[in-house]
């Protein structure tokens, strides 16, 4: 696989703020790259620089080995975090407007079918629900049949059905070998869609790799979760890291069988325990901390 996008030491400074503090990575053709991070981590700024919407303070971005040029806009599809469309236009007219900007592009009927917009074509685009609107914005991002697609928090604010529906859409797009870059707050979304992820905080990548390799690299344990009332042992007497929550207790253990034997020996009821592997959310919180971001 060859790198379709290469970012080298990208920096974006505003007066009194370094939004992007030197990130470097490359994205392979046909893969999906996800940037995760708390609010204000610099994900959107970094993405908008890659899209050519903002300028970088320093650093280099190469698309197919060359600096971003005029061709890039014809080959890239973009969906911003919040996009206003022109008032008073229907879904079909909005699609036609954007299709008119490109010489070559997707067949509109096909696109309408892919994004399930058939029933909405004559609706004023201001009267769409959140999920419908995101599908229209995705269709607009795909109107030029892009080789590379940028999605900035595409499922934020959507209900669970709409999110799953959106993931299916992205899977379809990935099958066409379109390279996808996305930012998200949802760890499950990143885990399902992305081949490579980067966790970003304070403008820097603090972890970068495939979801599986990152989990393997950072965690060797699994979590045993049990209701608080079942756990009547003084935590200090146990050899594990224990995280007490309001209703439950999370025990981090290296070996489940040893841990269960020990718990039984101490007389802890294990009928209601749950065992889960470490997930991206654990990794995210471990790396970025749990305190609330402004």
């Amino acid at each position: 696989m060859s790198a379709v996008l290469e970012v080298r030491n990208l920096v974006k400074e505003y007066p009194g703020l370094t939004a992007v503090a030197g990130i470097s990575f490359s994205v392979d053709e046909g893969s999906c790259f996800g940037m995760l991070g708390p609010n204000g981590a610099g994900k959107t700024t970094a993405m908008e620089i890659m899209e050519g919407i903002r300028s970088a303070s320093s650093g280099e971005i190469l698309y197919r080995g060359k600096p971003i040029g005029a061709d890039f806009r014809n080959e890239a599809g973009m969906q911003f975090q919040s996009t206003a469309l022109q008032d008073h236009l229907t879904v079909r007219e909005s699609l036609q407007l954007f299709r008119g900007f490109y010489k070559h592009g997707a067949d509109l009927d096909e696109l309408i079918e892919t994004c399930s917009l058939e029933q909405l074509l004559n609706r004023d685009n201001r009267k769409l629900s959140g999920g419908q609107r995101q599908r229209l914005l995705l269709a607009i991002a795909l109107v030029n049949d892009p080789k590379i697609l940028f999605l900035d928090e595409p499922t934020t604010g959507l209900d669970p059905q709409a999110r799953r529906n959106f993931w299916d859409l992205i899977e379809k797009i990935k099958q066409r070998r379109t390279t996808v870059l996305l930012t998200t707050h949802y760890m499950d979304e990143a885990y399902i869609l992305c081949d490579t992820i980067a966790i970003m905080d304070h403008g820097k990548f603090i972890a970068h790799g495939s979801p599986e390799s990152l989990l393997k690299e950072h965690f060797s344990d699994v979590i045993i979760e049990l209701p608080r009332e079942d756990f009547r042992v003084p935590p200090a007497s146990l050899p594990w890291t224990i995280h007490e929550k309001i209703d439950s207790v999370e025990i981090s253990v290296a070996s489940v069988s040893e841990a269960l034997a020990k718990l039984l020996e101490l007389g802890v009821g294990i009928d209601r325990i749950r065992i889960r592997p470490r997930n991206l959310e654990d990794l995210f919180l471990e790396l970025t901390g749990t305190e609330l971001r402004a």
Partner: protein, 339 residues
């Protein structure tokens, strides 16, 4: 490039036409103004008389003749006799006097009631030494004179706010940012905005022109082609002015303030409501820089005096030159969004 311009042009036209309240207001306002102003002013309720004094000095020496001390008359100096007589015939002044001539002389327009009144006033000051001159001109009602002003003013507001506000709103809500992500260039975008507003404003103005003509049968002496050229250029120039306000800002409040700052002086000083005759020279110099002044001067020359395109060439050239300069600066300064 053409396809991209047509795409955005088409979408903008749909947006405008579907915004029924704005469209209705764009048509209704000028009709109401013409009817209202026509009703108020056709009786000529203004108390002030305008008397031009033929002399070389800029300030009128009010002691030169007892008549010049009459109150409630606006005396102002003019230096060119032929020009002044032409204005008298068009009712842009009520009387012309030359107190320094030997013997002193006055001219009135025989079709003007105010001229008759002023003649009686002169007689009342005991100034029997004046010799009498007259001009005649087809009576131009105030409403004939006002109509080009109203249409021009409506054009100005529509061009300035219609384009300026729309672009600022697009920038504020992020639509311009989305357009930046496409191959559309600022030049293509701005061209489409100018064309869209131009077509719409010319259509609306033509409709109002035809409707008003049916309702109050105003004077139209010159060529429709010349008027069309002048109106098109004037509108393009005003749209370019509006775009210049909107090249950077994403604040509707700031844009509104700037547009008001541009439109109010034009509305007051471009000769929409009253002739600038008799105002200080510096006021006329400033007003001369406004696109609306050139537009109205040319339109009135065509409509009231039957001027052809050749005769309004100075205004046509001024509007064309200003348009090119304003558009060039606009395209150069334009930003889709703050970086």
């Amino acid at each position: 490039m053409i396809a991209r311009i047509l795409s955005i042009l088409h979408a903008r036209n749909i947006e405008f036409l579907r915004d029924r309240s704005a469209l209705g207001w764009n048509i209704l306002l000028p009709v109401l103004l013409v009817l209202g102003m026509g009703a108020i002013f056709s009786g000529d309720g203004r108390a002030m008389f305008k008397v031009a004094v033929l002399q070389q000095a800029e300030l009128v020496d009010l002691t030169a003749h007892p008549f010049l001390q009459t109150r409630f008359i606006d005396f102002y100096a003019v230096s060119d006799l032929d020009d002044a007589l032409a204005k008298l015939s068009r009712h842009q002044m009520d009387m012309l006097i030359s107190p320094a001539a030997e013997p002193p002389q006055y001219w009135i327009n025989e079709s003007a009631p105010k001229g008759y009144m002023l003649e009686k006033l002169i007689a009342g000051t005991g100034s029997s030494d004046f010799s009498r001159g007259t001009v005649s001109g087809t009576a131009i009602r105030y409403v004939d004179w006002l109509l080009p002003g109203i249409l021009g003013m409506n054009m100005m507001f529509s061009c300035l706010f219609g384009v300026g506000y729309v672009v600022v709103r697009y920038r504020k809500n992020g639509f311009l940012k989305r357009l930046k992500a496409t191959p559309l260039t600022p030049f293509e975008f701005l061209t489409a905005q100018v064309l869209s507003r131009l077509v719409l404003i010319m259509g609306v103005t033509a409709m109002v022109f035809a409707g008003t003509s049916y309702l109050i049968d105003f004077k139209m002496s010159g060529s429709y082609l010349a008027l069309f050229v002048v109106a098109t250029l004037g509108a393009t120039c005003l749209i370019s002015t509006g775009l210049l306000v909107a090249v950077r800002t994403a604040s509707e409040e700031l844009a509104g303030g700037l547009l008001n700052m541009i439109s109010w002086p034009m509305m007051l000083l471009s000769g929409v409501w009253f002739s600038l005759e008799g105002t200080p020279q510096y006021v006329q110099n400033i007003a001369g820089l406004f696109p609306l002044t050139a537009l109205l001067k040319a339109a009135r020359n065509i409509m009231l005096d039957g001027a052809g395109l050749a005769e309004v060439m100075p205004q046509v050239s001024q509007l064309a030159a200003m348009t090119i300069v304003l558009l060039a600066i606009g395209a150069w300064l334009f930003r889709w969004q703050e970086d």
